[in-house]
Subunit: 245 residues, 2 copies
């Protein structure tokens, strides 16, 4: 196994920045379990592995580079790195509204942990795609990738430039659109169409009145009126469980 070159080491470090992930069309997957998920999903997605001597995968088909523990630490975003990471080719899924039946659309999502959890939950409920509006966090950010627990390989995340236009497009494509809003009624909407989109707002501002007006229905998850809100990934999960099952 070849030693990791300075150039490759620099590439790995740069991939912590979105700009470089976009330019290089690559992203990083860390830890034995997630690297195994990447290889199981499709070993062609893996460009190369970086490993410490303690963590060499014995019979892997992919290119591997060796580094010592100290240098590995400088490449890792984890507090306790386990000595293996994969540089993967970044997929760039296209929006295919006509092929979807269950989607979740969020006008702006800032927290990487929330996005990772939503991707993992969307995978559990077999959603076809997650659509994110402008200003949302990059799904190939390392915190997002870690929180997905491998679902990043299975659920397409697509960024749209104009969220309200996207909502109009899916309505034309016969989607029922259900928004989650803290201002709406707690009356649970009935699923009426086979194609369904759950629509959520940002962590801090929710859906704009303009977006809400475009939707077939807005509703609020019933709860204790003394409590201000639910975490966004929790609200999304409850809605997916209710409508995507």
């Amino acid at each position: 196994m070849e030693a990791l070159s300075k150039a490759k080491s620099k590439l790995v470090q740069n991939l912590s920045k979105k700009k470089f992930r976009d330019q290089n069309a690559r992203f990083i997957v860390e830890g034995k379990k997630l690297v195994q998920e990447a290889l199981d999903y499709n070993s062609e997605i893996v460009d190369f592995l970086v490993q410490t001597p303690e963590n060499a995968f014995a019979n892997s088909k992919v290119t591997r580079f060796l580094t010592n523990q100290k240098d590995f630490q400088s490449l890792s975003s984890l507090v306790t790195p386990d000595g293996i990471l994969a540089v993967c080719h970044k997929p760039s899924p296209k929006l295919q509204i006509e092929k979807y039946n269950k989607i979740i659309a969020i006008n702006s999502l800032n927290d990487p942990g929330n996005l990772g959890t939503i991707i993992r939950t969307a995978d559990w409920f077999a959603a076809d795609a997650i659509i994110l509006g402008p200003g949302s966090v990059d799904c190939f950010n390392s915190k997002v990738v870690q929180a997905t627990m491998g679902s990043i390989f299975r659920v397409p995340v697509i960024y749209v430039e104009d969220f309200d236009s996207f909502i109009q497009d899916i309505k034309h494509a016969q989607f029922q659109t259900i928004g989650l809003s803290l201002q709406a009624s707690t009356h649970v909407p009935t699923k009426k169409q086979s194609k369904l989109a759950l629509v959520l707002g940002s962590e801090s501002h929710g859906l704009s009145p303009k977006t809400q007006a475009l939707l077939d229905i807005n509703y609020k998850i019933a709860g204790n009126p003394a409590v201000e809100s639910l975490n966004l990934s929790i609200a999304a999960a409850i809605a997916m469980h209710q409508f995507f099952n």
Copy 2:
């Protein structure tokens, strides 16, 4: 307003450690919004506030100490502190099984973000208490407190030494016990009793077969069989929505 003394400053710093929180029976609440929640909830819970000159609450009844931004930074656990924190008296709720109707019990919970989110969600669904088994993270850890968004003041979190004995105690007290398990059937149990306990295992190991055998029923949230698991706080939220509403 008095300047923050070295002794008080040291106390605040020490409160980042569980041992000191237990010894001093105090914990820290950070940020304008959460400090306001503490004051609104019960200003007597607040021992004192620490503020930078930019962030003085004008007419507060509680004792306040002034510090500069640089020193404040050294007291804060936040990446971008907003110049206000409260040292609060730590409540120590007692287990009162006979008074509860809806509880959530987790045999071991390690992730502070998960616990914070579960406390916030339990507040939304008006749960009476959260019971945690040995080895669980401290609910007054700053990451937990931040993630609760104020629900830490409203939902009692109680630690038990023997989780299986606790399960037996609630069964004697006429609770229906519903466990969440990835090995169980996806058949959704029927709520049969007015007193209900949702029981979950740890993030990595789930419920032990021994605990599962004690429960009235175990079930699995239906989903895509290709996906290994849901995040613990997500599974708890879906179950609370299903049974506590």
